[in-house]
Amino acid sequence: MMAWWESLSELARSTAVSTLWIIVVTVVLILSVAYLTLWERKLIGWMQVRRGPNRVRIFGFLPGMGQPFADVIKLLIKEIVVPSASNKVLFRIAPAITLIPAFAIWAVVPIAPGFAIANVDAGLLYVLSLTSVGVYGVILAGWASNSKYAFLGAMRSAAQIVAYEIAMGFALVGVLMASNSLNLGVVIEKQAGGFLSWNWFWLFPLFVVYFISGVAETNRAPFDVAEGESEIVAGFHVEYSGIGFALFFLAEYANMILIAALTAVFFFGGWQSPLNGYVAADSSLFQIPLLGPLLNDGTHWLAFKLFLFLCLFLWLRATFPRYRYDQIMRLGWKALIPVTIVWIFVEMLMAHYKIGPWSP
């Protein structure tokens, strides 16, 4: 087995390893999406003093844990209705276009210390460019459905995403200035030194702007005017049924996980442990069996931070009413963008006087 592996060319081996990693990450992501839908319903249920889904069990245990599978199977076996006056090809590929970027961006996210599937030098730009591609799925779905509600939803969503992308990009410019690199691995390593040296401390306004724009980019409440059911039924995916709708659903949750992960990477040190920097790397604390590795850097910290941000997403949804459309636009253009520009100037001063991340 080893000899056969050694006999392969370098290209074939790296392709095989990358493919394996891609499959692992995709499967983990899809399972996370499935259980995120359940966790959302449970958490919001508890916040609203309800129980949430508690009927579908797995093998008679764990009430509610079978709910995602029940949902998926239901959606899979439903009839797919394609409107007769729609643009058939675009109607069918639109859900895929929303879904692909949400998964493709994971290629550059550093998922473990010093490891990403693709260690790209311009990783941050890759993230920005692919997040902006996701909007096409929404626009195409709205247009191809040939329905007024769907079209209105698509228009709202397009204007909103274009507006918030600018604030998001500017917030990342601040991260770039702090880390001096476009490589996400380097962005994380530059934050080393414990909880207070992570980017959120010195770039707090940018962190807030980034997270708010992230919520807006994923079309989540309170920014979910693209599917505002009280006005335009279900927005851009009103004509989708069965698995087509499920793909949009999957894309929305995959995007939430992605934004949570990116917030953790850009502002909360990614896989870094909050103790890292306060406790020496060779300290006896990290030598304790079981507990030691948990306290040290690792993928579990990324997962933990990601989970916290996902809960924040759900908390926002459970708490806030939907924004009015003109308020969304006002917030994006007149509040978030000026904040980022001002903070970039502040960073300029910090860099000049060697404060914070720029201290020698």
Partner: protein
């Protein structure tokens, strides 16, 4: 070898989608073909190891410009027959422009050799001292070409402001929401509690 196969595959897709841009009947399809053209062009640039330019092409053109373009095209009710009626008449002009453009590109690449840095045989972008594309471009832009760069930036800023000023006009009788006033509203401004004596049964 692999790079060559990929190049020809992407080039074929690029040409096909470029023809689709001018050939398709539906303007939305044309715009989408243009998006595909940008994507494949970005892929070809990636093959030439110009990853910064490739990603920026997707970021700027696909992510922002084409979204707005599509937005407008979808909203407009374009009479495609009217536009296509001039197709044969302007066809020769188009061919002439294409030939001139092609000759200009060949002139720049071959005659000037892009500053004689391009290795015409391998066709790859030259790799400089820093291994990252972005670093090299940044260094060049902020040191050697800093004045042209800043001039371009100011020009763009002027263009943005000009676009806003040109389109902003105050129409009379327009109802605009003043959000500050909306937020500052107190209960007393909207609500009046009346004391009504209850009717007595006679």
């Amino acid at each position: 070898m692999l790079v060559n196969i990929l190049f020809y595959a992407f080039a074929l897709v690029l040409l096909a989608s470029a023809i689709g841009v001018i050939g398709s009947k539906n303007p939305v399809h044309s715009a989408l073909c243009l998006v595909l053209t940008f994507f494949t062009a970005a892929a070809i640039w990636l093959l030439a190891q110009a990853e910064f330019l490739a990603i920026v092409l997707v970021l700027v053109y696909v992510g922002a410009v084409m979204v707005l373009f599509l937005f407008v095209v979808m909203m407009l009710d374009i009479d495609i027959e009217k536009i296509r009626s001039g197709f044969t008449r302007h066809f020769w002009l188009g061919i002439a422009v294409a030939i001139v453009l092609f000759l200009e590109i060949v002139g720049v690449v071959v005659a000037r050799g892009l500053g004689a840095n391009v290795d015409m045989k391998s066709g790859m972008a030259p790799v400089g001292a820093a291994d990252s594309n972005a670093t090299e471009l940044g260094t060049a832009l902020y040191t050697k070409y800093v004045y042209p760069f800043e001039l371009a930036a100011v020009l763009l800023l002027v263009a943005i402001i000009a676009a806003i000023v040109l389109t902003m006009r105050q129409r009379k009788g327009l109802k605009v929401q003043d959000i500050g006033a909306q937020v500052a509203t107190r209960r007393e401004d909207r609500l009046r509690i009346l004391q009504m004596p209850a009717e007595k049964k006679e």
